[in-house]
């Protein structure tokens, strides 16, 4: 009797958890079990970050066997942050990463707008061939071409400079196609009206197309900044001096140092420094982030 009551109670609780199931399946067990499994997995998915938060604020003396505990066992202290702050130049790394990510974005916004307009609105010979030249670049991502690209960067005198990290990304096939799609959705009549008013091509792009394609620009900006904020291998190849390191490269060498000392709390604090900017952005604009990444098929 009691067990049955519990079972019904459990089912009710589940039904309350999943009020959004399609009506047809609401009384079936499998979708509910699936939902329950996904709830468990979602908790599991954020566990590393939960540990990071707890460990970063835990005093160093509590390291060792209890280090893995996910329950904060003392008042949070800033000790690990101070240590991490002192042993690596995180402000510098953050500045370098910001320069790289936003510098790339600034140039990309110009190149993809111009190229996107050309593919969306102009008829010209060789259009199809050029389209494939762009399309192929989606696969030939700079990461795959690290070896010859490094040679090119050195030849241009950009080795060990932030500009060298940025340059290969100044054109974006993905961005070009995204803008092409957005521009094609804009009625030609608007452009024709501007044309009658005597607007030049650049003026029409700037004052007719760009403002109407804002959502596409935002989507592209989020994906572009995120992927270059997170990039590791290419800057690792290009950058030599510690002062020019971006966050990812700085964090990797910082982690290597602290790993030897088994300073897990300090590593957690350092990792938090690196994750925090994007995490805050995500918390503030969750829907925008998610929508942008849906449109980002290929970065």
């Amino acid at each position: 009797m009691r067990a049955a009551g519990l079972r019904i109670g459990g089912a009710r609780a589940l039904a309350r958890l999943t009020p959004d199931l399609p009506l047809a399946t609401r009384h079936e067990l499998t979708p509910k079990l699936g939902f329950g499994l996904v709830v468990v997995l979602a908790l599991l998915w954020v566990t590393p970050f939960l540990w990071m938060l707890v460990a970063a604020f835990r005093p160093g003396a509590y390291g060792g066997a209890g280090m893995a505990s996910l329950i904060p066992d003392t008042w949070p202290v800033m000790e690990n942050f101070a240590e991490a702050w002192a042993s690596a130049d995180f402000p510098r790394y953050t500045l370098n990463t910001a320069i790289i990510a936003f510098g790339i974005l600034a140039v990309q916004l110009v190149t993809i707008t111009l190229a996107g307009y050309a593919f969306a609105r102009l008829e010209f010979p060789g259009r199809r061939a050029l389209f494939y030249i762009f399309l192929l670049q989606l696969m030939l991502v700079p990461v795959v071409l690290i070896v010859p690209n490094l040679k090119m960067v050195a030849r241009l005198g950009l080795y060990d400079t932030l500009l060298g990290v940025m340059a290969p990304y100044f054109a974006s096939a993905f961005g070009t196609f995204l803008m092409r799609q957005a521009f094609q959705a804009i009625p030609r009549e608007l452009e024709e009206a501007a044309l009658i008013d005597g607007a030049t091509t650049l003026q029409r792009i700037r004052f007719v197309y760009a403002p109407l394609a804002r959502p596409a620009f935002i989507a592209f900006a989020i994906v572009s900044v995120t992927s270059h904020w997170n990039e590791f291998l290419w800057p690792l190849m290009v950058i030599n001096s510690p002062d020019n390191r971006p966050l990812t490269v700085g964090l990797a060498s910082f982690t290597r140092g602290q790993e030897g000392a088994q300073a897990w709390g300090v590593i957690a604090a350092g990792t938090l420094f690196v994750i925090a900017p994007l995490a805050l952005g995500f918390l503030a604009f969750q829907r925008r982030f998610v929508n942008s990444f849906v449109s980002s098929g290929i970065k």
């Binding site: 047809a24 795959v144 071409l145 040679k151 849906v294 449109s295």
Partner: protein, 319 residues
């Protein structure tokens, strides 16, 4: 906004009615104007995609004379390719990469599909769960690796601390050559499943609800609904996500640098890591180039096999 919520690949490409000459380019004609507008992008593509591609082919046929980074090189035919193909480390990296691809691809896509199906309807709870599953996508892979360094730590690490209560002898996650590659794959799955989930969420929108109702009235079990209703509708999405996932598998090896550096005994040496080692640690540009060419050929084969998928994604047929 529709462009963002419904990715292009589920949407038929918008065919703009073309009225040639409706918007003439000033003076120089549309061809000249197009060239001017495309020029900035083309210069960058020439400098950092197609130029390096030629350089790569050239370098892969050169062999270095003498020691050091700046030594002179001579033409050596296919010697680098022979050397790379005969190099046990490269073969190992290639096999590792294949295993890595399989053990990563299938669970990533499977989990992404499960996530998407469970969280397809919009509700406050579901969007919170989606965000939790998506969050690792935003985190740099090296930062994730820094956390997993502790998670995988033998004895006191997060995994052993909790799993140790259930299992008597948890394996040495990164130290055991038989397990290490799977641990690396686990990090990749954790990192990317939430990304692929987004595509399945979008894809599920294309399944008409009536199909589910009809299947339900016909007495279809949940598995039958999955097999005969959901999966057929999702076919193009699955193909598309598989291409992206494979590309990510080849290009995202950052965690190997932090977690294992290719070890133990080359168990986690992946092709891109091998290329890096040859170029940066051994200064053997010839070999690194030959290995790059070989992996590019594999990637290009994949591209051409999936060109249809990509074209649909970006409306190439209208070009």
């Amino acid at each position: 906004m529709t462009d963002l919520t419904h990715p292009g690949y589920v949407r038929p490409a918008r065919r703009a009615t073309r009225r040639a000459g409706a918007v003439p380019g000033s003076g120089i004609g549309q061809g000249g104007l197009a060239l001017v507008l495309l020029l900035p992008s083309l210069i960058i593509l020439a400098l950092f995609t197609y130029g390096p591609l030629l350089q790569l082919g050239w370098d892969s046929l050169q062999i270095r004379q003498g020691a050091g980074a700046g030594g002179a090189t001579v033409f050596a035919g296919l010697a680098n390719y022979e050397a790379v193909l005969a190099d046990p480390s490269f073969r190992r990296a290639l096999i590792n990469n294949l295993i890595f691809a399989i053990v990563t691809l299938v669970p990533s896509l499977g989990l992404a599909l499960v996530f998407a199906m469970a969280l397809a309807r919009s509700s406050r709870l579901n969007s919170a769960l989606r965000s939790m599953l998506f969050f690792p996508v935003l985190v740099p892979l090296v930062a994730a690796a820094s956390l997993f360094l502790f998670i995988f730590l033998p004895g006191v690490g997060l995994l052993d601390h909790y799993l140790g209560r259930l299992v008597a002898n948890p394996p040495n996650w990164l130290g055991d050559p038989d397990i290490a590659l799977l641990s690396i794959a686990g990090v990749t799955i954790w990192k990317n499943a939430g990304y692929y989930m987004l595509f399945f969420l979008a894809g599920l929108q294309s399944v008409p609800p009536e199909s589910y109702e009809a299947a339900h009235l016909d007495g279809a079990t949940p598995w039958q609904r999955l097999r005969y209703v959901t999966l057929p509708y999702l076919k193009p999405t699955i193909a598309f996500v598989a291409v992206i996932a494979l590309l990510n598998i080849v290009t995202q090896v950052d965690h190997v640098f932090v977690l294992t550096k290719g070890g133990p005994s080359e168990a986690t040496n992946l092709v891109l890591f091998y290329i890096y080692q040859q170029a940066v640690e051994s200064y053997d540009v010839g070999r690194a180039s030959a290995a790059t060419v070989l992996s590019l050929l594999a990637l290009l084969a994949l591209t051409f096999a999936s060109l249809g998928t990509l074209e649909r994604a970006f409306g190439g047929r209208a070009a």
